[in-house]
């Protein structure tokens, strides 16, 4: 599934959306612990979190995530948006909770995936 389809389906608010990119989404991961995401999330997946500080962009780049979805109406820091623009990281916002977002994604066929040790 393309990130644009997910945006439409979940009614996500684009907070940073680089021109001309519509990456594939091979699954999802939800966590608010940066080390956990760094160690377990897979490339080409969406990450649901309520963390909004600039370090989430660094993690998204390192893991090669398709997009970050900020749950619970959380707004990214200005620095986070600047960094996301610089590094072409897609960030969406939503008033829905992480649980609801994950449920809707699952229903749409985007399953939870994680790195095996």
């Amino acid at each position: 599934m393309k990130i644009s389809e997910i945006e439409e389906l979940l009614e996500l608010e684009p907070l940073n959306k680089p021109q001309g990119t519509d990456p594939n989404v091979a699954g999802g991961y939800a966590s608010d612990l940066l080390s956990d995401v760094m160690g377990k999330a897979m490339a080409d997946t969406v990450w649901i979190t309520i963390q909004a500080h600039p370090n989430i962009v660094a993690v998204a780049v390192l893991v090669e995530l398709s997009a970050i979805i900020l749950a619970n109406g959380v707004k990214p820091d200005q620095k986070t948006l600047e960094k996301a623009k610089e590094q072409d990281v897609i960030i969406y916002g939503s008033n829905k909770s992480a649980f609801t977002l994950a449920g809707e994604l699952y229903k749409a066929g985007v399953l939870g995936v994680r790195k095996q040790e």
Binding site: S35, N55, V61, L62
Partner: protein, 144 residues
């Protein structure tokens, strides 16, 4: 393959959460350009990120270095204190001395050093209280 060793150094500032992760990002870019396998790059990215974050969160500042040879990726971190009093304890999954403020940002899960060790083929950490901490890791590339 690479004939010589390529060496890079990245200074890391303490408590700078805006730049935190940038050095790991640069290291990752270098490895991508060198054409290393995705599995190796991911392991290096985890190690570089966690080592960098430890300097930012727990130390007074230091640096990260990368040495690329034809057979392995070598990384080292060094900082100028405060050092780790009990390394065995620090290596335990879930152990963290991070402040509540830092934890609220999603750091301080106590997974950093365990994740570094898990992803390294060679892992060595040395620390002296009042002096600093040195970490050395190698990741085998898997080609000769």
């Amino acid at each position: 393959m690479l004939q010589n060793k390529l060496s890079y150094a990245f200074p890391i500032e303490a408590s700078d959460f805006t730049k935190a992760g940038d050095a790991a990002g640069k290291i990752k870019k270098i490895l991508k350009l060198a054409g290393l396998p995705a599995t190796v790059i991911r392991r290096v990215a985890i190690i570089a990120y966690e080592a960098e974050m430890n300097i930012v969160i727990h130390s007074v500042g230091g640096s990260l270095s990368l040495d690329l040879t034809s057979t392995r990726v070598e990384m080292a971190s060094q900082d100028n204190g405060p050092g780790i009093p009990d390394i065995d304890l620090a290596l335990q999954e879930g152990y963290s001395t991070a402040s509540d403020e830092v934890r609220a940002l999603g750091f301080g899960a106590g997974m950093g050093l365990p994740n570094i060790r898990r992803n390294a083929d060679h892992f060595c950490i040395q620390s002296e209280v009042g002096v600093g901490t040195n970490l050395e890791v190698w990741i085998d590339i898997g080609v000769s």
